[in-house]
Amino acid sequence: MTASRALAQEADSLHAAWVTARLEVAPPAAAITGPRLRGAVNLPTAIREFSGLQIRDYGGAGGLKTINVRSLGSAHTAIFLDGIPIDNAQNAQVDLGRIPTEGLESVELYQGQRSRTLQTAREYGSASSLHLTSALPASDGKQGFRLRVRGGSFGTVSPLAVWESRWSHLVSSRVSVGMTHAHGRYPFHVKDFRNTPEGYKGYDTVMVRQNCDLKEFRADAHLFITPVGGRYDARVSWYDSERGIPGPVYKQADRYPLSSDRQGDRNLTVQVGGEQELSRTLSLMAKARYARDILQYLDVSEIDPSVSAMWNYLQQSGYVSMGLSWKASDRWFFGGAVDGQYETLHARVDARRKTLFAAGSAVFADGPWKASAALQYQHSTGAGDYQFLSPSLILTWTPDRYWEFGGLLKRSCRLPTFNDLYYSQVTVRKLEPEEVYQAAAHWSWDRRYDHWRFQAREELYFNYVRNKLIAVPNGSLFRWSMYNLGGVRIFGDELSFTAAWRDGATTLGGTARYTFQWAHDIEADGQIPYIPLHSANFRLFWNQGDWSIDLQGFVTGERFSSSTNRPDFRIAPWTTWDASVAYAFPKNGLSLKLQLNNLLNANYEIIRQYPMPGFHLFGTLEYVF
């Protein structure tokens, strides 16, 4: 449980306006916090166990990693860093692999939206949201340094230095600098066997993934001011990387490489935010962000490396949000926010988009009942003129300390991206937003018996997607068209169960999660691509004083790379097991961690033609002083 949520639950006793403004009607559907989060190799690895969440991983050190919640696609999950959305107007894909976890306190996944009264208007308009919250630095001392080096497979070397400082009881800061170097190469199998009249025949060949090196550097400075009844922060981040783009694996003439393409990124982000209680009933919030992303893509001919095309994209985004929360009575709370966003993309065709988000919400809390009704209005101009209303209703009933029941109704959308509008389209056609209708219900149970703690949760949901945005090539290698085509019905069930036993320095436990997703393409009459009907994951953990051991298993059922679920589109089920062992030296601040991934060397693909690595490992040495 995160600090903010603990606060929220004590809201009634504290009577502070800022605390009630942060009261959440429904808790996050999944969360990961503390050292487990910070110790993860990257953000996708940390959150992949979440129910209903799928990480689209193109494999390897520099491979794109995006989030897909409840089969809706990455564009329908908004990602917030300290309450401010991280966007990509060009293609609506945020590469989670680039977001460091070391400064984070928690990562929480909300279905529908986070249901506070004091939050941005943007929050109300996505089908789900992933909230990354920064940890307050050096809470237990005046100064702190953390040096970490991680290394291992794919030629990975990744040093990190963090300096945390508490300047006064109000002001603290964190500065971190890190880099990663990897050649990225790994072997994988290409195989196909089938029954033929001459028997079971096929091939199994080992190839090596090439052109997947990664060089990245990042620096981050974060200042916090934490007065009573408020929190302010300011942050500057710099990210610089260069990587090879290995491309999909396909049959290529022996003399040519699959890809020699390169990509360079330079991103600068500045964000500031503040929340403050103004009186016993009023709280105010203001947030702003500026992001400047330079992407350089070098398309190199695989036939003749001297022939290439350089694509430069400069994306800038400015975002401002102001919100107010009003505690009208002990039972009624109201919130409102207005956001403005301006996004530009400078490339061969310049694009810009101005969007206004305005949202209001009413929260009712009485005894075991909590409800939130919200409405977001979105008006976007510059790149198509779009107006959209996203209403939502969230309800929870907590009859006692152990049980919670809840429900969600919501309509939301995603607008066509700049890529959809300008870079893939040839036929002039008005594109409509892709719309999502959600209905969901959940129950959860959390109970302790002596040394034991048991937690169980189930979520049932139904999603309907209409006007899906789909790209269709126009009979050539260089002309594509976007269409609003068809719809998808998704029915899902997510179950999770945790049991933990604790006695003194010993904690033993396990979690099992199962997800059922029936995601039906109405036109093609089949399960949509890449969504397994069944998936599950398991975790066993054992903490013994300074030792901790963790074992995680992921099982993904059969999938299809097309909505036509024919055998030739089938992607085989896969299972991976990862283990980690960590030891913290009791006195000197040193700790060691060994992560062994894909223990059974499974050969699998998450995205067709993008093979994932087999067994690989990372070792981490950390020194805190």
């Binding site: 290409v190 196909d192 066997f193 089938r194 033929t196 025949k201 096929g202 091939y203 999909p248 396909y250 049959k251 290529q252 003439a253 003399r255 040519y256 398309d299 190199v300 001919s301 695989e302 036939i303 003749d304 022939v307 290439s308 095309a309 350089m310 694509w311 061969r348 065709v349 310049d350 810009r352 101009t381 510059g382 790149a383 198509g384 300008y422 040839v426 036929t427 002039v428 056609r429 789909i470 790209a471 269709v472 126009n474 009979g475 050539s476 290698l477 260089f478 002309r479 393409d521 093609a524 089949g526 691509p529 790379s561 097309s562 909505s563 036509t564 030739d568 589109f569 067709r608 033609q609």
Partner: protein, 387 residues
């Protein structure tokens, strides 16, 4: 109007000249599923169906076996289970040459030669970014994008490969940018250049003397972004992808794309005299006898999407043609036409209804535009061949 169209379509059936066919009824060894495809398919026993795959997904070759009423998917993998990574990727064209099937695999930079009817792989020929295939005499000609990349700073001209049918020896000649369709007429090879990877598209037809295999000249067509090409007895027929331009609206700053030239069709005599077929929006084409079948988007200029089928009697000039809108006719079931083939025996024609995210379909229509049957095919079905 419709009656006239029907009459013309019926006339097509009568007018269709005989095309080559092969009659060797033998048991096809492939596993497949039973399909209902009617009894009358002329004297043809097989329809080969080439699926391009999702870009750059694996391409597959399917077989519709009329005789046994079986649809056999991915017969290449069935026949060659040990060939690593199957047939190859982004299959852009196929042709039967002396009883062998040649398949141009664009992304794989290969042309595969398969034995028929076994589909056993006989040979793989390295061809840079192959697109379309034509056959004449001892040689197979293949257009090639060479090493060009989209938007490249250095524009790299395309090539035509000449491949000896028996020895598979190759020779190349440089042509225009991103050559597409090609056709042989009276000892010359004509090549439609698109220039689709460049900011300014190509409008030239390359003329290659077949005896010397040298580029003779370039003829400028009255349209750009040239695409498909067929040859009749005395003319070359060329289609165009059309042209679009971007303009920025001053007030809103919004970029608006407008189509400045629609998908078009011209015919050309060997001495370079063009006839523009105004009103014919040709994307893909199929010539059968002296009737040219083509289809395209007739509402492109208005920013709409409305597929029409056009029929042209190539013996008659004077811009006379028949057009039928898909919507409201028997062709209504076609979602996204991507390829067309006419059966010269009975006047039936087949339209590929392609999907690049899921399975495609092939529909069969009678010459009177009546829907006869539909089969489910692979991803990105674009090319058909009767045997």
């Amino acid at each position: 109007m419709k009656k006239i169209a029907l009459l013309v379509f019926s006339a097509v059936l009568v007018a269709i000249a005989s095309c080559t066919k092969e009659n060797t009824p033998e048991e096809v060894p492939f596993a497949g599923i039973d399909v209902e495809v009617g009894e009358q398919n002329g004297s043809f026993n097989k329809l080969y169906i080439l699926n391009e795959g999702a870009f750059p997904g694996a391409s597959t070759l399917d077989l519709l076996d009329f005789k046994n009423k079986k649809y056999c998917a991915d017969i290449f993998a069935q026949a060659n289970p040990d060939v690593v990574q199957g047939l190859g990727n982004t299959a852009n064209d196929m042709a039967v040459v002396d009883g062998k099937l040649w398949v141009a695999l664009n992304a794989s930079n290969q042309v595969a030669v398969l034995q028929l009817p076994s589909a056993k792989l006989e040979r793989v020929i390295d061809v840079e970014s192959p697109r379309y295939i034509a056959v004449d005499g001892q040689y197979v000609y293949v257009t090639s994008y060479a090493s060009a990349v989209y938007g490249g700073e250095n524009m790299v001209p395309g090539k035509v490969y000449r491949i000896n049918k028996k020895s598979y020896e190759t020779a190349t000649v440089e042509v225009g940018y991103q050559p597409e369709g090609l056709a042989v007429l009276k000892g010359k090879l004509y090549v439609a250049n698109s220039g689709g990877y460049n900011w300014v598209h190509d409008n030239r037809i390359s003329v290659i003397d077949l005896a010397s295999f040298k580029l003779e000249k370039h003829i400028e067509a009255p349209m750009t972004n040239l695409f498909q090409m067929v040859a009749t007895e005395d003319q070359i027929w060329v289609s165009s992808y059309g042209e679009s331009t971007w303009t920025q609206d001053e007030a809103s700053g919004e970029w608006i794309q407008s189509v400045s030239a629609p998908q078009g069709l011209v015919s050309m005599t060997p001495n370079g005299q063009f006839t523009e077929w105004d009103g014919v929006h040709a994307d893909k084409m199929c010539l059968c006898g002296n009737t040219l079948f083509c289809f395209g988007n007739a509402k492109e200029m208005e920013g709409g999407y409305e597929e029409w089928l056009y029929l042209i009697n190539t013996n008659l000039g004077g811009n006379t043609y028949q057009g039928v809108r898909f919507l409201g006719s028997g062709l209504e079931c076609v979602g996204y036409p991507y390829g067309i083939l006419v059966n010269p025996d009975n006047g039936d024609f087949y339209i590929c209804d392609a999907s690049f995210t899921s399975g495609s379909k092939v529909h069969c229509f009678s010459s009177s535009l009546q829907h006869k049957w539909t089969v489910d095919t692979g991803v990105g079905t674009g090319h058909l061949l009767l045997q």
